[in-house]
């Protein structure tokens, strides 16, 4: 029954064999997961956010556990775009869909990165990380100011013809406004949400648990917030949406699709279960089959509102 379901979706021009991606920063550069699953079982994955130069991140402690969630302040530690293109990408099997994530401190950085990434035929799409919740400059500022965000997206749009996704910050008053800005500035799709800015304190030492003081909250705790934002964004724009935030099970993923997501990203769950992406993809197909949807793409927006039959 599941076999007869068409699992393919189109995420702003990126053809995916199923709607499940793994989220940036939670899937390394892909190869780390090879012992646990065939990477081609995923729709694709978003690599750790890259900067022009390698970057070494925050001092420890960088992570903490919170109720049904985790806090992190890694600060975009990464190997840099050149090592990614020259060392990591070639290690990946050709049938794996790779989306590259860009991070910078000004639109110029971002554009330069996107340009460099666009040269590689192995990069299926580009995700702009406009939302890192704990880097001191860059990232979140773009995700919180509609004018800056618009400039950033336009600038990157100008240098790449690859499918362009924008990853939004949840730390805003109106997510629908931010979604509209992305659409108007030429994005092919939006991904939301990044981690929610948060904090944790150790009462015995009376210190913040993270060296960075502030961090990003991820995991099941934020799922109802992410779901709300995806629903609000889906009302506001017609470009495709990729739902991210606390997805651990196929049912979680289906909720995001019903609320309007074309695809989803699984993040924190990878740490607990390195094969979760494949399991979520299989489970979505099984759900579609059980509920009589011939294509998983038909789940997108299939929420029944109160009063509707």
């Amino acid at each position: 029954m599941t076999e007869s379901v068409d699992t393919r979706v189109d995420l702003g021009g990126i053809a995916l064999r199923n709607p499940v991606l793994t989220a940036s920063g939670t899937f390394g550069y892909g190869t780390e997961f090879a012992p646990f699953m065939d990477l081609a079982a995923l729709g694709g994955f978003v690599a750790k956010s890259l900067t022009l130069e390698p970057r070494s991140g925050n001092p420890p402690p960088r992570i903490a556990e919170t109720p049904s969630g985790m806090l992190n302040a890694i600060s975009i530690e990464n190997i840099g775009v050149e090592a990614f293109l020259n060392e990591r990408l070639p290690e990946l099997p050709g049938d794996v869909v790779v989306i590259a994530s860009c991070f910078g401190t000004d639109p110029g950085n971002y554009a330069e990165l996107a340009e460099r990434l666009s040269e590689s035929p192995r990069v299926a799409g580009i995700e702009i990380n406009a939302s890192c919740p704990h880097v001191k400059s860059g990232g979140i500022e773009f995700g919180q100011d509609p004018r800056l965000l618009g400039e950033l997206v336009e600038r990157v749009r100008g240098v790449t013809s690859k499918p362009l996704l924008v990853k939004l910050s949840p730390n805003v008053t109106r997510i629908d406004d931010m979604a509209r800005v992305c659409e108007a500035s030429g994005a092919d799709g939006i991904c939301l949400i990044n981690a929610v800015q948060a904090m944790e304190v150790d009462v015995e030492s009376r210190r913040p648990v993270l060296s960075n003081v502030l961090g990003g909250l991820s995991g099941p705790a934020i799922r109802p917030i992410a779901l709300r934002m995806v629903w609000q964004a889906a009302q506001a724009v017609s470009i495709p949406i990729c739902g991210v935030g606390g997805i651990f099970t196929p049912e979680d993923a289906v909720k995001f699709m019903l609320c309007g997501a074309t695809a989803v990203q699984v993040g924190t769950a990878n740490y607990l279960n390195p094969a979760v992406g494949r399991e979520v993809a299989e489970g979505i197909a099984a759900y579609a089959a059980r509920h009589g949807f011939p294509r998983v793409a038909d789940l997108t927006g299939a929420l029944r509102l109160p009063g509707a039959p």
């Binding site: 780390e32 646990f36 992570i63 985790m70 390195p274």
Partner: protein, 280 residues
């Protein structure tokens, strides 16, 4: 000053393991024996990630993250072709409390074996193994395998007698055992580093150190090794979310520049690679 290379790590697996035994060992310590299907074996110092929820239980998302636990002792495949692997765990918070509550027959999610191993003891040297608190668990296999090749001394320390783990197992090996407790409730009163200093003063072949325990203790061992120009490998106990190198949460600063991942390059490091100053 490099040690012989550690053995190549086995490919880790993700699997549901079955609890065979879970016995109380003194206040707050538990000996957990798991049957692990397909277990490839582990080298001394390697660890696994255990998900406190159990896998048969209804899905609960709190506590969320798996907990790192050293492989204490592996047994040859025994029941039903599955390997039996032993862990010693100390109840220090919610996660270990839940692990301690697992009953035989329940199943639990595991990822492993993970991380780097101790380089083997060098024949002809005096291998001094120093374990503090939960760090003791990382040293048993090393002591057991090393005893055939070298003169092995073990120093096991904890705050109090009840916090010690596995002492009887170590004493049953052909090794020289020293026990310290901070309150003097068992063995020598004081810290493992006191016993270490004393041992190093005794005449004998050149010594090499293998240490596992809380960061301040590792730092203290590293200092002694530096002062006395001894080889020293330390195993670190950082907080971890994934255990296989993708969350970047377990970073430790290293002299070669930037950060190293304790779950992947570590947990075992040559002590002189770690930048100790300012570590929490």
């Amino acid at each position: 000053m490099t040690n012989s290379n550690p053995p190549a790590p086995s490919r880790p697996l993700r699997v549901a393991a079955e609890v065979l035994e879970n016995a109380v060992e003194g206040p707050g310590n538990h000996r957990l024996v798991l049957a692990i299907p397909g277990w490839p074996g582990a080298e001394p110092g390697q660890f696994v990630m255990l998900s406190p929820g159990g896998s048969s239980e209804a899905e609960r998302t709190d506590p969320l993250l798996p907990r790192p636990m050293a492989v204490y002792r592996g047994h040859a495949a025994a029941r039903g072709g599955r390997a039996e692997v032993e862990f010693l765990l100390k109840v220090t918070g919610r996660g270990t409390r839940l692990l301690a509550d697992l009953a035989p027959g329940q199943s639990i999610r595991l990822v492993g074996p993970l991380g780097s191993a101790f380089a083997p003891v060098v024949p002809g040297k005096r291998a001094i193994l120093v374990g503090g608190g939960t760090g003791i668990a990382s040293l048993y296999e090393l002591a057991s395998r090393g005893a055939a090749d070298a003169e092995v001394h073990v120093i096991l320390g904890a705050r109090s007698e009840g916090d010690l783990m596995g002492v009887d197992d170590f004493e049953a090996l052909e090794v020289d055992c020293h026990i310290t407790t901070e309150d003097g409730s068992r063995g020598r009163k004081g810290r493992v580093t006191d016993a270490l200093a004393e041992l190093l003063e005794a005449p004998g072949p050149p010594a090499e150190l293998f240490a596992c325990g809380p960061t301040p203790m590792m730092h203290a061992c590293a200092k002694i090794a530096q002062e006395q120009r001894l080889e020293c490998q330390v195993s670190l106990e950082n907080n971890m979310a994934c255990g296989f190198g993708v969350c970047l949460g377990c970073a430790v600063p290293v002299h070669s520049g930037g950060y190293s991942l304790v779950c992947r390059a570590g947990p075992v490091y040559p002590a002189d690679q770690v930048v100790w100053e300012g570590l929490p």
